[in-house]
Symmetry: C3
Subunit: 317 residues, 3 copies
């Protein structure tokens, strides 16, 4: 995908996908996020880095959860936040969409956080705005969800340090998952030694080179001896009917239970982008166990989003 997320000066101009983002830039984002984690523990959890700036959450797909994390991140940076939930039914594509965006730019919006059910829309918008404006893709179709990919990689770094010795299993409906795509790109760039894709054959992606990655249709083999188990949410709305006979059968084959988890390394961590379907892709006991870092992911997500917004806007970092 052609996109202009890196300016000619090498600065982050937009964040559309983790594909093509350099290891140096990812490390810069992570280090900045580390410093913001400390802010989250202070009594006054605000820094003035985006004071007087306006962040517009433009969500064409319903998501209280993701919108909320961006809203908190922006407010913690002292930005003003606009929340616009636009049902796609009332939205045409292309020109009319650009009119909406250009209107908001004329109101001096600095950052747009955009979620859209159609792949490519945030990139299209990024290619049609002037350089004072920054786009963050908060999920487009099954293409990318870069801040989620980054926060997941950041979470692994917090718990496992060295990517070069790391075995990671991504489990579930990889084919329809923008989260998986963004994770795979970030983890590859960071030099993860082994990335496994685990799930039923119909959930294996067509567009991700399966040569570079090992694929497993068997859960036990797939997570055997891994350091990290990244579960994906079963996205019922993206599946064709009758592909999965029943939630119960899926759980039997690919649900992460205490029993199954024993096949991973003893100190393996368990991740999930949320919201979880307990009893469908993950057992409650596992979700709430000491190996689970699922809530830590949420906390780290705020810091990562603060770091990305700061890098987009600040000219001196």
């Amino acid at each position: 995908m052609i996109n202009n997320q890196i300016s000619n000066e090498g600065k982050l101009q937009h964040l559309i996908t983790t594909e093509g983002i350099s290891k140096e830039l990812i490390t810069k984002i992570f280090n900045l996020a580390e410093s913001f984690l400390k802010v989250g523990k202070r009594d006054v959890k605000k820094v003035p880095l985006l004071r007087g700036k306006t962040v517009c959450n433009l969500f064409f797909e319903n998501s209280t959860r993701t919108r909320t994390t961006f809203e908190i991140a922006a407010k913690r940076l002292s930005a003003d936040v606009l929340n616009l939930d636009i049902p796609t039914s009332s939205q045409s594509k292309g020109e009319a969409l650009i009119d909406t965006i250009n209107n908001l730019i004329a109101m001096s919006t600095d950052i747009f956080v955009i979620r859209h059910p159609e792949a490519g829309i945030p990139n299209y918008i990024a290619n049609n705005v002037d350089e004072s404006v920054h786009i963050i893709n908060a999920g487009d179709g099954n293409n990318a969800h870069p801040t989620q990919g980054l926060l997941d990689a950041f979470t692994i770094r917090k718990y496992k340090k060295d990517f070069s010795q790391l075995k990671v299993a991504i489990v579930g409906d990889i084919k329809h998952s923008r989260v998986a795509r963004s994770e795979i790109h970030a983890l590859s760039t960071l030099g993860t030694s082994e990335i496994r894709l685990v799930g039923p054959e119909i959930f294996m992606p067509d567009d991700i080179s399966q040569d570079k990655f090992q694929t497993y249709n068997d859960m036990k083999a797939g997570i055997s001896d891994v350091d990290v188990v990244m579960m994906l949410r079963i996205q019922k709305e993206r599946m064709q009917k009758d592909i999965i006979p029943s939630e119960k059968k899926y759980y039997e084959a690919f649900g992460l239970t205490t029993e199954i988890l024993k096949h991973a390394k003893k100190d393996a961590i368990v991740m999930h982008p949320g919201p979880m379907n307990r009893g469908v892709e993950i057992q409650s006991e596992v979700a709430d166990s000491s190996q689970s870092v699922i809530l830590a992911q949420v906390t780290f997500g705020i810091a990562i989003r603060m770091a990305v917004m700061t890098l987009l806007v600040d000219k001196n970092i």
Copy 2:
């Protein structure tokens, strides 16, 4: 109801119900609210007591009105505010609800203001979060609405001073009213000499000891010689069909009119938690009369909510 709203150190940890809150604590809340009333009259109506804190309004039941008062109170304390309106249809109970809450906690939310159509949910949540997090019940089923109960008692204190000489009539559908329950507990604790429950027999509560309170099925007798008339909103959605033959008949029997009000003391005050059904439970002339303190209740409500939030978060008060 077992709840953990008071910590082992005697501090207010959550506010779930006015039941069991001591006279000392209520007085502390009232005195703090008095100081915030002055803030509301200043040119710059903000104090920095909750700067850097995040207040999340989590409303599973529609209420622009109550949510707005909490939002204003939090902003006046300089907190950041998140508004999440969650239709109960899209929400399961128990575990999934706690997942939602835990996610918001992982984003460093400090206070949750929760309204839920089902009694007990805010208490359940309070019992399942760690101690850095504070829950305010903004109304759960027909159980409790403690900030309303407190602001009503505060209003009475502003106009009548001494509770020990006071006759108060609560009029309407007491059976289904969380407001009435919270008023009764607060007024009892403050030593109100006489609390009367007035309404048709079918609206008298089963769960409130009618030995301690006098009940009246006749309006004139019920408000005769009282100092305070607290009207309740007729909650059409909570009534079974055919219990009340018609709004007109209800108004004839229990509507508060200028004529009926003459049976109370001459300087009696008239209260209503709003929104009023004019011509159903209260006559417009009475609502707008000099005896009405209905709009003062709203103003005091902001100060009470500021006081409660401050006491929850501040370690030094």
Copy 3:
């Protein structure tokens, strides 16, 4: 229309309509807006003029766009903003509406920005609140939209300076347009030498004296030699069926194309209040041409709204 938008001391108390606003006051608003335009270009785009004040956007008619401009304007002045979208279905008129407003006033709201599908509602409210409260009409039925009228006149002043030599054509459905009414009043007061109303006969207004204005049912003649072409949005929801045979026929007769625009002066500017129906009332090439000042209108709109809010609240200007 009788309204009390100017206080006895000659100060702006409410902004309900541009009708009857003096040239001096409009000029004062414009000069203040000029100073706010500079704020919009600063790195920190905030001024503390409304700090501690509360602005309530009360929208009884859906409008993300207009509400957003008021929200940005208020936040840039450091006010706290409440957004209340109230479907008219759940709202009765008169007394119940005043109850809602009085409740919000009791919460110390300083400015209400009100949009309502029915003409006259903002004025009715202005006549029923006390003098500490200020109402801005953000559009009422087909009556008035004064901040839009002012920002359009301001835009013309920015590009054309002298109104006394100016020919302006307003094109489209003038009959149903509150924007057109507010433009006409503002431009007349500012001494615009010629205001032309252009559109099919059925779109010519009954309530605007057609003696004072020239009306044209022919597009070429209507915009011939003008300095400013102000296009109106075709408001499909306000038109009776079958009045316009088709969008295509309307476009052929009254759409602004590059060809048609040649009949205006060479340096004529093209305006549109947005959102545009490209290919219905305006050709894309014209909307995006160098003669178009449509996005500048949006930017100026923030400054004008900041100026109006400041004049309403500030006692010293």
